[in-house]
């Protein structure tokens, strides 16, 4: 119990600090800071507050957390498909994707049917989408169109659903009735910290850009340095995790950081390909749920399965 409050307290303290710094930076006109990066920092901090509230609810109402993640997922998928060109032949397939597979995935997560939700999308949905698009009779660029819908469903729904699934994961070394909520809280906190640290390290030490054409600010120094720093933060929070050894908490944190930047890179590539300019008016104002979630989407399934494999109760 004390661990729950301690973790919650630390996160709230960090968030308040970040909010304060953001507001302070906004008022400093003399520092000649790039106002856009200050604004993007502030919108990120706001997203963190939102996450913290959702996850705070997770301590008391796991089902509600699953529902909220489901809504986020729905919205992210909406943005993804809007960004991706689909043709009229895909309409019926998309209808099933939005109104059957997405709610079904989260329903199964809430009911804790791991055997079913872990394959619902990669097996049933993927084959269904291909067949449904074929039935529509439009074969132009068939594989490309099918792959777009499948990828959107995989990233926005399947991957993201493993974050709330952490609430039902049984581990060997779990203590207290809120240990699962704490695991989810730890996971999301580490993703957000990883993003922040990679940003800071990139700014301070960044020299070698990974892929200039995709993301001109993401550097090897930022990614690896950020991952290392995230591991140290994870180490400091090791008491709150179900990992029995200190180095395991650090290694899991580094894993989260690496996956988070992989997710951000992937989404950046998709956005570059689609040309954000041409679709800017569509997502403008909603400020992109998907671009806040990209890191979580990639890190969640990997974190879930590695935890399950090494630390999960056998047969659970």
């Amino acid at each position: 119990m004390i661990k729950d409050w301690a973790l919650l307290g630390i996160v709230l303290l960090l968030l308040s600090g970040a909010t304060f710094v953001g507001r302070w930076l906004q008022r400093q006109t003399s520092l000649a800071l790039d106002q856009r990066s200050v604004n993007s920092f502030n919108s990120r901090v706001n997203a963190w507050w939102f996450f913290t509230v959702i996850l705070g609810l997770g301590f008391f109402q796991p089902t509600l957390t699953v529902l909220l993640f489901g809504l986020l997922s729905f919205w992210a998928l909406r943005e993804f498909i809007t960004l991706t060109p689909t043709s009229l032949g895909d309409h019926r397939a998309l209808f099933w994707v939005f109104f059957f597979f997405t709610p079904m995935q989260f329903l199964l997560v809430a009911l804790d049917y791991y055997d079913f939700y872990s394959i619902l999308i990669p097996v049933y949905a993927f084959l269904f989408i291909a067949a449904r698009v074929a039935i529509s009779g439009d074969f132009k660029r068939f594989l490309e169109r099918v792959a777009k819908i499948q990828f959107g469903l995989l990233v926005c729904v399947y991957c993201l659903s493993f974050a709330p699934a952490l609430l039902f994961l049984k581990c060997k070394h779990m203590d207290g009735s809120y240990a699962n909520a704490r695991l989810l809280f730890f996971f999301v906190t580490m993703v957000l910290i990883a993003e922040l640290l990679q940003f800071i390290f990139g700014r301070l030490f960044g020299k070698h850009v990974i892929a200039e054409t995709v993301d001109s600010t993401r550097t090897w120094e930022g990614t690896l340095g950020g991952a290392g720093a995230t591991a140290i933060v994870g180490l400091a929070l090791y008491w709150a995790t179900p990992f029995p050894e200190w180095w395991q908490a650090a290694a899991m944190s580094a894993l989260i950081a690496v996956m988070a930047s992989a997710g951000a890179m992937t989404l950046a590539a998709i956005k570059c390909d689609r040309g954000e300019v041409s679709t800017g008016t569509l997502i403008e104002g909603h400020a992109g749920v998907l671009s806040r979630l990209d890191a979580v989407c990639f890190a969640a399934p990997v974190f879930y399965h590695v935890t399950r494999y090494f630390f999960g109760l056998a047969g659970s």
Binding site: L88, H91, F98, E284
Partner: protein, 200 residues
């Protein structure tokens, strides 16, 4: 009243529309909003994206053969105060333009889709001449171009179930019929006003 609020919200949720006014502002003065037409939801969408006090004074023009069928549709048409025009029986004596002008009087605004029907292809079709005759009789009406983006993917022609993607609506600066402007030139200019909003 309740249906109106409900309908507005449903339209907004389904279409996920972000509304922008480029070089123009919502106003209760008499106007004609003209937009590209790609789905049945367009009528409701443009109407519901106007601010409440403007919306109350705005009457969409809708096809009688679609909106008059069945209880639900005709009830909905009543809620958003639509003016139903018979597309099949356009006669010289009872021209729809005269009817529109009679109905709006000196207070109401209009929403119309000058392509005449939903455009199945990408891009915007040629405009029918209604907009021209309307302006010729009432040249002081402000003509506001509206560009609807992505609705053809949300509810394509021939489908009855919408897919909840995001769309956007752009309201542009007003245009007027110039004195002595030929019909074809005016219609091309009006169409261009809608097309140019695509990239704004």
């Amino acid at each position: 009243m309740i249906t109106e609020t409900l309908l507005t919200w449903i339209a907004r949720i389904i279409s996920g529309a972000s509304v922008r006014w480029v070089d123009s502002q919502p106003d209760t003065c008499q106007r004609v909003y003209f937009a590209n037409h790609t789905s049945h939801l367009d009528v409701v969408l443009v109407w519901s994206s106007l601010p409440t006090e403007v919306r109350r004074l705005t009457r969409p023009i809708a096809a009688k053969d679609y909106w008059d069928r069945g209880y639900v549709r005709s009830h909905l048409a009543k809620v958003f105060n639509a003016m139903l025009i018979d597309r099949q029986e356009i006669k010289v004596h009872q021209s729809p333009i005269d009817m529109m002008l009679r109905e709006i009087g000196n207070t109401h605004s209009l929403i119309l889709f000058p392509e005449g029907g939903r455009n199945p292809e990408e891009g915007i079709g040629e405009f029918k001449s209604g907009l021209y005759y309307l302006s010729k009789k009432r040249p002081e009406l402000e003509l506001i171009p509206v560009y609807i983006n992505n609705m053809n993917r949300i509810l394509p022609r021939g489908e009855f179930l919408p897919v909840p993607l995001l769309s956007s609506l752009t309201f542009g600066p007003p245009i007027w019929l110039e004195a002595g402007e030929p019909k074809a030139d005016f219609l091309a200019r009006a169409r261009e006003a809608v097309v140019s909003l695509k990239d704004r």
